[in-house]
């Protein structure tokens, strides 16, 4: 069973309970959502959501189709294999003594990150980038002692002028492509009456 990290992006109505409906479909299948980021989109009343979840391809596709049925979900796509730009933001509070401060500032510069708060014995570093970049910076700063850390999780947009998640009537029904004959999978033993 192939499991990969998937990025789903969704355009959803900005209404109470929507996040709950979406999260609940993942919970039911015991998926652990790695990150979820929601915010306003370019269209008023609609939010754009980026969900990162690890799971087997077929199962994720099944959830995606279920999510597509949620009334408030206008559109949802798995952009894992699409050309896209993905970023996240992290705030890292790192211990800084007079002797380490210079070294930290150097690292922050190399990563084109910013120092957004300075205290007597600590600094808050702000970094934006893809996960690898954020991960490596965190790794480097760990040596100095990280006091607090927060990450937004991934947000993503596909490249090119016409995003696939623009609201418009679908011109043609997308035909599901499925591998010709993968072995049939056995589900767990069925429940009793």
């Amino acid at each position: 069973m192939k499991t990969t990290k998937h990025t789903l992006v969704a355009l959803v109505e900005d209404k109470p309970g929507v996040l709950n409906r979406i999260a609940s479909l993942f919970r039911r299948r015991n998926f652990n959502i790695e990150s979820i980021a929601v915010g306003q989109s370019e269209q008023s009343g609609l939010s754009r959501m980026t969900i990162v979840v690890d799971g087997d391809d077929a199962k994720i596709e099944q959830v995606r189709k279920q999510l597509d049925k949620v009334v408030e979900v206008i559109k949802i796509m798995d952009i894992t294999d699409e050309e896209s730009v993905a970023r996240e933001l992290a705030l890292i509070k790192v211990r800084a003594t007079p002797s380490t401060r210079g070294e930290i500032i150097q690292i922050v510069d190399i990563f084109r990150a910013n120092i957004v708060d300075v205290a007597v014995d600590s600094l808050i570093v702000e970094v934006t980038g893809d996960e690898d970049k954020v991960d490596s910076l965190i790794e480097l700063l760990r040596g100095f002692g990280i006091r607090e850390l927060t990450r937004t999780g991934r947000i993503a947009l596909t490249r090119g002028s016409a995003g696939p998640l623009l609201v418009e009537e679908p011109k043609e029904v997308k035909v599901l492509r499925q591998p010709l004959k993968p072995p049939r999978e056995e589900t767990e033993s069925p429940p009793d009456w």
């Binding site: 999978e185 589900t187 033993s189 069925p190 009456w193």
Partner: protein
Amino acid sequence: MKKTGAQILCECLVREGVEVIFGYPGGAVLPLYDTLPQYPQLRHVLVRHEQCAAHAADGYARATGRTGVCLATSGPGATNLVTGIANAYLDSSPMVAITGQVATPFIGKDAFQEIDITGITLPITKHNYLVLNAADMSKVVREAFYIAGAGRPGPVLIDIPRDVFQQETEFIYPERVDLPGYKPRLFGHPTQIKKAAELINGAHKPLIIAGRGVIISKAFAELRELAEKAQIPVVTTLLGIGCFPETHVLSFGWLGMHGMVYANKAVQDADVIVAIGMRFDDRATGMVSSFAPKAQIIHIDIDPAEIGKNVRVDVPIVGDVKNVLQVLNEQIIPKEHMEWLSQLEQWREEHPALTVRETECLIPQYVIRQIYEVTHGEAIVVTGVGQNQMWAAQFFFYDKPNSLISSGGLGTMGFELPGAIGAKIGRPEETVWCIAGDGGFQMTIQELATIVQEGLDIKIAIINNGYLGMVRQWQQLFYGRRYVHTRLWGPDFVKIADAYGIAALRVTDKKLVTSAIEKAMEHRGPFLIDFVVEPEECVFPIVPPGAALTQFIEMPQEDRVSSQSQQQR
């Protein structure tokens, strides 16, 4: 003109064509109940337990294809609906459930009879709403009915706080529903339909597996045309029973755990399967990895999320069954599959599941067959869950479209009586037989009062085996005959019926079965027959859980009915 929230709700229900509401009052819905008399077009049926309001709305919806409506108060009223809503959800039954809620200032404060019913029903509804302003009411109700009935039908819940019922606002009825996020695909993709036609035209052993989607889509004629045009044998799912005449030469029963051996064999041997409006439930497929090993599968369903969910599909077609079949049928080349059909006939002769065996004692299969004989199949049968359900599905032949109503996906004992109430109210001109288990009947027995109060002419047959029969059967076959807590004492059902004012008979002697059924049919008004049957009869054939469809167990050759099982009950 200004109207209250309750009036707006009623106005909308009337505009949706609602003719009956199954409900139960309470504090939070009192303003609505107080308004109901202003709308005499809305018949209200007072049930005796809210679970049965939902089941009756569900039975009504299944019998008519129209959206059923149930109504309950906040808190316990709402939670009592839950099983019925789940039942409708799993069998794709269109329903709008209306619940009262505590007044808006009290929401979230654990107020008296406050429960988060939209939270509770989130995974068992297609959608749900909490209406916080009377101004939103008409839009919400309009959308709720649209969602419940459109695409793959299902339940929608509307939770309404008490003060919202009382708020006054301008009544504006939305002319259109605009839901950008819910647009079911109704027409199949032409390329896919063409592929399907090619596959069918080239098949040597084609087989149709037809499910409840055919009934929901009312594609009876289209299905028949497809089958007859290319001489394709038809098997149905349990819930598909009644989508194709069972006495038709091309009908080969239904598949699955208690399906006919020849139906299951056909599935396992077919080279092309046309699965129509069905969802490859585990009770139908047996072990998935060995399901239909030789077949290319065409799957027609309105719900894209069902495609490829359980089994691998070669040609998926998303669309309404009726629309898809209309286009598909045009591309089908008339054919005869003599060899394949005679193979199926041979299996049918080798594995006759549907002959009632000769016995001295009273067996349940005989009861069902006699109901079929006496009614000439002119009845809607509503079943319980368990052995009675399987026998009712096996030993009655369903030729009339949509004539079997049964809880499949959730398998809810107790559905039979309220389900029959809904069916009878939806199709009052039809004879309705409720086939109940003695266990299931005791779960919703209180609805006898509803039947009497509403004057409903429902015939009830209790298949009284003194056991939670289906569970006992599993204990017998898979748990070394240890009948742990499945022996079931029951009251004197005839006296019970009598106390409710319902005519009733007990039948213990096989010779009296037919005359009792005739008597029930002649009687004007409800009639109950307590059939005291062989306690340890089993449903055969059975494909053990997790086994392949070919690994069926048939009724043992030796006459199972021994003196030992005829002991005093």
